[in-house]
């Protein structure tokens, strides 16, 4: 993935998050405090304002700048988590103008480790990790098995959506939904949903191959 594609990915994310603002907020009203879409939209709007100034920067700087914007505008739980994820992913490609498949695996891994270190959640707690962890594993395994990027993307997204469905069936153990106990069952996790949306956007931009 080129630097321009990365910028395109980020720009597209700002658009789809805006489109999904109400949807994400609705999901968060059901089991959280009803701000997830508002939070992310505020954050990615700030990221968008930075994009122009990043046109000729390296991938690391781009991601780090986006991370800082997220950290200083989103707030809540998702701000530090997505911020940390972008930050950790950026560190992998510091100074680089191109992201290789190996880089992408490392970035994904580091992002998840960052989220876990910051949020102390694990898979099965009904959080974004229930999407990100299986998605990462599918992505990694696909390449290990020699699949094409298209196929790997497909498998990754498949795992992501499966993870998202899975969040409906479990009790939240982390985040605000946790306080609902049993009542959280049956509801899809908002953060897992935004993670899916972001992954889908990455895949869509890559598929266009611009």
């Amino acid at each position: 993935m080129t630097r321009d594609q990365l910028l395109k990915v980020i720009e597209e994310i700002t658009i789809v998050i805006e489109e999904n603002k109400v949807h994400l907020t609705d999901l968060d009203q059901a089991i959280g405090d009803g701000d997830h879409g508002i939070n992310l939209n505020r954050g990615f709007r700030a990221v968008k304002e930075k994009l122009e100034s990043l046109r000729d920067k390296d991938c690391g700087t781009i991601l780090k700048t986006a991370a800082m914007s997220l950290i200083s505008t989103v707030g809540g739980a998702s701000g530090p988590l997505y911020g940390t994820a972008f930050m950790k992913a950026g560190a992998v490609v510091a100074g680089k103008e191109y992201i290789s498949v190996e880089d992408s695996i490392k970035m994904f891994d580091e992002a998840i480790q960052g989220i876990i270190a910051r949020g102390k959640a694990s898979r099965g707690d009904k959080t974004m990790l229930d999407v990100l962890v299986p998605a990462f594993e599918a992505w990694k395994v696909a390449f290990e098995e020699g699949e094409s990027t298209e196929k790997a993307s497909e498998k990754m997204l498949g795992a992501a959506y499966q993870g998202l469905e899975y969040t409906k069936t479990i009790i939240a153990k982390k985040g605000r939904a946790n306080y609902l106990g049993e009542r959280s069952i049956g509801h899809q996790d908002p953060g897992a949903t935004s993670s899916c949306i972001i992954l889908k956007t990455i895949v869509d931009v890559m598929a266009k191959g611009e």
């Binding site: 907020t25 009203q29 089991i31 959280g32 405090d33 009803g34 701000d35 508002i38 939070n39 505020r42 950290i71 200083s72 505008t73 989103v74 707030g75 809540g76 739980a77 998702s78 701000g79 530090p80 988590l81 910051r118 949020g119 153990k173 982390k174 985040g175 605000r176 946790n178 306080y179 609902l180 106990g181 009542r183």
Partner: protein
């Protein structure tokens, strides 16, 4: 959505402007940040207290900035914990050289954002300690989960740790006192109506005319369960019993906070207090001091919480100390 506001996205900034205009003798706003600090701060050589969280809980937290309570309050978006840079800015502004205590309510977002701010302060060699308030007995405590929420009991931490700092205790001591208060306070709440986050534009949940939410937090989120509306005495009994089950208050003196969530008339809070005090009297628990009013709110939510703080001599003295802030003044 019926609100006296201008633009949903501007509520926090405009509110803070209004606060500063109303109380210039108490607070000033840090330029470019949603942070209120004491007008005459930082206080040299005094441990400083910083609290905060999402907005929508007014008078928490900015209303408690002043002598004997907080030194700084950080205001996030409505119900959204503030970002680390904002918290860090507050820490820098209030540090009087003796270090800063962060009073954090136990929510994933608050913890992470305040933690990141503490890391930033660390890098600039500002002494920072933090305590996490988790007084809500509605939520089961478990090491597998996030644990209990911090709700209205937080006000007691502000008051007591604030008095400790004002008295000249050092950071470790102030932290010790704050932790003792946290260990001794329990709360539980209920609501009759939801509330509407301005930017969301619609109520956080829906309740039928005869329903109430029990065991809920202060962010408009649903509670642990929904129930038919009961009488004030029944509601109060339920809240108090859940609290009393949790730690042993017998033979002790306590402080009470009957806290309104924003849309409940004082009349109803006093009717609840009548029952709280009669239950405690029956159990031989002596009420030393009672606060009644809107201290930690959820926008316009109709509902209330009860907090009970077990006191010892040290806590009593600190609770009684003078405080002078926009929302709480005590001679």
């Amino acid at each position: 959505m019926k609100k006296i506001i201008n633009h949903p996205e501007a509520v926090v900034e405009e509110m803070l402007e209004g606060v500063v205009k109303a109380h210039p003798q108490y607070v000033r706003k840090l330029e470019g940040f949603n942070v209120l600090v004491r007008a005459n701060g930082p206080v040299n050589g005094k441990v400083a207290l910083v609290s905060g969280g999402g907005s929508g809980h007014e008078p928490s937290h900015g209303g408690f900035v002043g002598r004997g309570m907080l030194d700084g309050a950080v205001a996030g978006a409505v119900f959204t914990s503030p970002t680390p840079d904002q918290v860090f800015e507050a820490v820098k502004a209030v540090d009087g050289g003796a270090g800063v205590l962060l009073v954090i309510k136990n929510y994933t977002g608050d913890i992470m954002n305040f933690e990141m701010a503490a890391e930033m302060a660390d890098m600039e060699s500002i002494k920072v300690a933090s305590v996490v308030v988790n007084d809500d007995v509605a939520v089961e405590n478990s090491t597998w989960t996030t644990g209990r929420r911090g709700i209205a009991g937080t006000v007691f931490i502000h008051k007591i740790a604030g008095a400790a700092a004002e008295k000249g205790m050092d950071l470790d001591e102030v932290k010790r006192v704050a932790e003792k208060t946290i260990a001794n306070v329990r709360s539980m709440g209920m609501s009759l109506t939801p509330c509407t986050v301005p930017a969301a534009g619609k109520p956080s949940f829906e309740l039928a005319e005869n329903e109430m939410e029990v065991g809920l937090g202060i962010h408009g989120e649903p509670g642990t369960h929904r129930d038919e509306i009961k009488t004030a005495d029944e509601i109060t009994t339920h809240l108090v019993e859940k609290i009393l089950e949790d730690i042993d208050y017998s033979q002790s003196e306590v402080a009470l906070l009957i806290n309104g969530l924003g849309g409940t008339p004082l009349m109803e809070l006093y009717i609840m207090n009548r029952k709280v005090s009669s239950i405690l009297a029956e159990k031989g628990i002596k009420v030393y001091k009672t606060l009644v009013g809107n201290f930690m709110t959820s926008l316009e939510m109709a509902g209330a919480s009860v907090s009970i703080l077990k006191l010892d001599e040290e806590l009593k003295e600190l609770l009684d100390a003078t405080a002078d802030t926009p929302a709480f003044t005590q001679l």
